[in-house]
């Protein structure tokens, strides 16, 4: 299993409904990735270290499946930006 750290901003199309945000697809570089499944999600309310402590905010994290590859993406409320964190593949 290979885990590759990415840490790059991405553009995401998501559905906001019933108190949840579900990403549907994201664009990284020149390619658009259609999300087949959300494996799991978690909310981190501890604040984003890169914005400075006490800046507050939260981040919504997702593990999403695109074919055989797993991507970790997150939305930072402090930066109002989606990020691609890492890619996991066999």
């Amino acid at each position: 299993m290979n885990i590759e750290r990415i840490d790059e901003p991405i553009r995401v199309l998501a559905v906001f409904s019933a108190g949840r945000i579900d990403p549907l697809r994201f664009r990284w570089g020149r390619r658009t990735y259609k999300i087949g499944r959300i494996n799991g999600r978690w909310t981190d309310r501890s604040g984003d270290p890169s914005t400075g402590l006490g800046a507050g905010g939260y981040s919504l994290h997702y593990s999403v499946q695109v074919g055989n590859e797993t991507y970790y993406i997150h939305f930072s409320s402090a930066k109002v930006q989606w990020w691609l964190d890492q890619l996991i593949a066999d």
Binding site: G40, W42, R45, S46, L53, G54, H61, S63, T70
Partner: protein, 406 residues
């Protein structure tokens, strides 16, 4: 309300860290997975089938199960999942006491337990956690904490068990004595020497006999083998803990004095802050260290008087550290345990030295700032030695293996 009317719930997340990793990474499902560094912090049930257990060294784990996938883990992620699980559990309890991967709750009179029986409440909770969080939990229900925990242990993995009122004696009788809360290795050895191996056999000893053998613990054993958990707090209000501990493994084995002392101070001030929040002063400080070659050493000292001041307790920690750390080998792990608590007393003493009063006010101010803005809002003392070495978030420095108070 007597004990038989109460309903205490125990929720235990099955193979917590490993289950989170298997949820988030489908490649790992059905495979033996280990989370840990140096030793196993958590392993999947597929790994347990190969004899792997929490606490086992990774070297031994790799020998037993070479195909296991080993992950260092991300404790901040696990904390977020735990918070979500407890949020779900609070719908089914009026009061929840949470630990790292388990929680106790009072479910007495909860509508879900009135509409159906306790089993339906347990199953509903389990289903909600699975649907909303995606993780498996085992649920135990009984009239007190001790029995609820026994019930959840018997239902693992992924089950629900209810020890019904007036069934306690029959359920407990065949259990090995080691499974009874409060029976440690020494007590078990003593009882086995007397040919007592099960809880049912333990009941044959009277209260006076148990008292003479084990003192106060004997009284507790007498009650517990009859299904009565006399140290239970019915309303789950915070109790005075026996110990407050903080420990961590360094990201890399550490030999830099500034880093080690910084970590010791940081762990101590976190533990002391917890003590102060509980209105407690500490009398005994214990330090444990693990060298990079896995040699463990520990020491303990009692302070001249109880203290809620980091500085006084840290002086004791440093003294222990000077005594223990004698080899030119890097450290892999350090831990601090506070114990022997007494009430700190809230108000100023008219005859208190001015310096002590100023220190107390300073600590109170720092605690207030941290409660509002997060622990990391203020970096004090030798914790400054960790700046630039460790990442921080609002909780504080991001440690490799944070441990929570039990």
């Amino acid at each position: 309300m007597n004990d038989h009317d109460k309903l205490v719930l125990h929720v235990d997340v099955d193979a917590f860290f490993a289950s989170v990793e298997q949820l988030l990474i489908p490649l790992l499902r059905g495979r033996p997975v280990i989370v840990g560094s140096g030793c196993i912090a958590s392993c999947s049930y597929e790994a347990r089938a190969h004899g792997l257990r929490a606490g086992m060294s990774l070297r031994e784990a790799k020998r037993l199960c070479p195909q296991a996938v080993i992950l260092a883990g991300d404790y901040q992620v696990y904390r977020c999942f735990a918070e979500h699980i407890w949020q779900v559990c609070r719908r089914y309890t009026c009061g929840l006491e949470t630990y790292l991967d388990e929680a106790y709750g009072d479910a007495t009179g909860i509508p879900a337990s009135r509409d159906g029986d306790a089993m339906s409440l347990g199953r509903k909770l389990q289903r909600d956690v699975r649907d909303e969080v995606g993780l498996p939990v085992s649920v135990g229900l009984a009239a007190n904490r001790m029995l609820a925990k026994l019930a959840s242990a018997s239902a693992k993995p992924g089950g629900v068990a209810w020890i019904r009122p007036r069934q306690e004696m029959d359920i407990l009788a065949p259990l090995p004595i080691e499974e009874l809360h409060g029976v440690g290795d020494k007590t078990a050895e003593k009882l086995r020497d007397m040919n007592i191996r099960t809880v049912g056999e333990l009941r044959a000893l009277g209260l006076e006999t148990l008292r003479s053998l084990f003192g106060r613990c004997g009284e507790l054993l007498y009650e517990r083998c009859r299904g009565r958990d006399i140290e239970n707090c019915p309303d789950l209000r915070p109790r005075i803990p026996k110990t407050i501990s903080r420990e961590t493994t360094f990201h890399q084995p550490a030999c830099d004095a500034e880093e080690i002392r910084g970590m010791l101070f940081y762990l101590l001030e976190r533990a002391m802050r917890t003590a102060r929040l509980g209105g407690l002063a500490v009398r005994t400080v214990e330090l444990s260290i693990r060298y990079d070659d896995w040699k463990d050493l520990a020491g303990r000292c009692s302070l001249p008087q109880p203290t809620a001041d980091d500085r006084a307790a840290y002086a004791a920690v440093l003294e222990l550290f000077e005594r223990l750390y004698q080899r030119r080998v890097a450290l892999r792990h350090v831990g601090i345990v506070l114990s022997n608590f007494s009430s700190a007393g809230g108000e100023a003493n008219l005859f208190e030295p001015q310096d002590a009063a100023r220190r107390r006010d300073l600590l109170r101010s720092v605690d207030t700032i941290r409660s509002r803005y997060g622990h990391a809002a203020v970096v004090t003392g030798e914790s400054i030695g960790l700046l630039g070495r460790l990442e921080r978030n609002d909780y504080g420095f991001v440690l490799r293996t944070p441990s929570l108070t039990k």
